[in-house]
Amino acid sequence: MDRVRDLASKRAAVIFTKSSCCMCHSIKALFYELGASPAVHELDQDAKGREMECALRALGCNPTVPAVFIGGRYVGSAKDVISLHVDGSLKQKLIDAKAIWF
């Protein structure tokens, strides 16, 4: 959990993924489309990946990847991100966290 929080606070937009996860690829693509440069951490490439996955599961993230943090705060999984994007709040969160400017 500490490592998750630690990594999540280091950048305005942070996405936890797995190299084999294609839905993660979609969420990354969406962030790039919006002009954000999220930090991407692949759990299967991290030594503490297992623990981090457990921490994400404990946060209620299901499936555990992709897991999105904006401004250090947990935003949700793919479903949450898409829902937020549809009502316009994703962009606003990114602007507020200074991940994007417009």
Binding site: C21, C22, A29, L30, K79, I82, H85, V86
Partner: protein
């Protein structure tokens, strides 16, 4: 049930005996005077009893045959019901256990459910059309519009369950008409296209509304593109996995099994893409409704329905077209 056992047919024996007796009497072989009267009487009584037994036997046989006939009719009826139930995807085992739904016929069951949903949807939309044409008040319109949107939630839930059972059937779009299938995206319609259509149908819109609808159209397009990219990545990854299982080492069974297992894992993620695509459709509809007034939402739903009705009509025309 009465003990109607298939008794041996004694009717002919009694008849023959009767005939023999009459013959015997007419030929004087049997004495009709007093000396053998008791013996004749005994024989007559026996013959009468035989006749009675034979008659009873005939009646029992008739009853038994009638029961067989009605059982046969009942059996035919049950067989027909069973056939109908099987067609609807209800699994019924041979030992007569309780019925479970969505057995091997998940695709067929979904097609039936979708057809039912569509029928109900059209009924609701016609109700809305009637209310709009009769200048119904906002209150009444809101009830019907809310009902239609809630009903949309039903089909998304049904599709979710069906995708768990048979993701390829949903992806194939075979449950839609041919022309609709032409525009299929991840197992359904593109919200961004619907919104483009509505921008022309919904005037007049306020500045704020126009901006919001434009933003919504752009957001849904971005989300669609993102999901499409994920699907492409999935296809690529799958192709690479299958290609990796080919190779010079043809005897490497473990390698083959490993690659197949990986490919299976990737196929399992398809359902997630359909779920997110449907989630996008659902969210877009809700968001559109929140931006518009009740009357505008009503017109939007009617326009959407008109559009898809035309697509379906086009499919029918196409299928019925004269060919050389």
């Amino acid at each position: 049930m009465a003990d109607v056992s298939p008794m041996t047919d004694t009717s002919t024996d009694a008849d023959t005996e009767d005939k023999n007796l009459r013959n015997a009497l007419s030929q004087g072989l049997v004495a009709s005077d007093g000396s053998d009267k008791s013996r004749d009487q005994k024989m007559l009584r026996r013959l009468a009893q035989n006749r009675e037994a034979a008659r009873k036997s005939r009646l029992k046989k008739k009853a038994y045959v009638q029961q067989l006939e009605s059982s046969r009719m009942k059996l035919t009826q049950l067989e027909q019901e069973l056939q109908r139930a099987r067609q609807q995807g209800i699994f019924i085992s041979n030992s007569g256990e309780q019925a479970q739904s969505m057995g091997g016929n998940g695709a067929l069951a979904f097609d039936v459910e979708y057809a039912r949903w569509l029928e109900e949807h059209n009924r609701r939309v016609n109700e809305l059309r009637g209310a709009v044409n009769q200048h119904a008040g906002d209150g009444e319109l809101r009830i019907i519009v809310d009902g239609i949107l809630a009903h949309y939630d039903d089909i998304f839930r049904i599709k979710g369950d069906a995708a768990k059972a048979d993701v390829f059937h949903i992806l194939s779009g075979m449950w839609k008409t041919p022309a609709e299938r032409c525009f299929l995206w991840l197992g359904g319609f593109r919200s961004s296209e619907l919104l483009k259509l509505l921008l022309n149908q919904l005037e007049p819109l306020t500045e704020q509304q126009l901006m919001s609808i434009n933003n919504l159209q752009q957001s849904s397009q971005q989300a669609e593109d993102a999901l499409s990219q994920g699907m492409e990545a999935l296809q690529q990854s799958l192709a690479e996995t299958l290609a990796a299982s080919l190779g010079p080492s043809t005897g490497n069974v473990a390698n083959y099994m490993g690659q197949m297992a990986m490919a299976m894992g990737k196929l399992g993620t398809l359902e997630g893409f359909i779920r997110q695509a449907d989630n996008l459709r659902q969210q877009t509809l809700q968001r559109m409704h929140s931006i518009l007034t009740t009357r505008q939402s009503a017109r939007a739903l009617l326009a959407i329905n008109d559009y898809f009705s035309r697509l379906r009509a086009l499919s029918s025309l196409w299928l019925a077209r004269p060919r050389e």
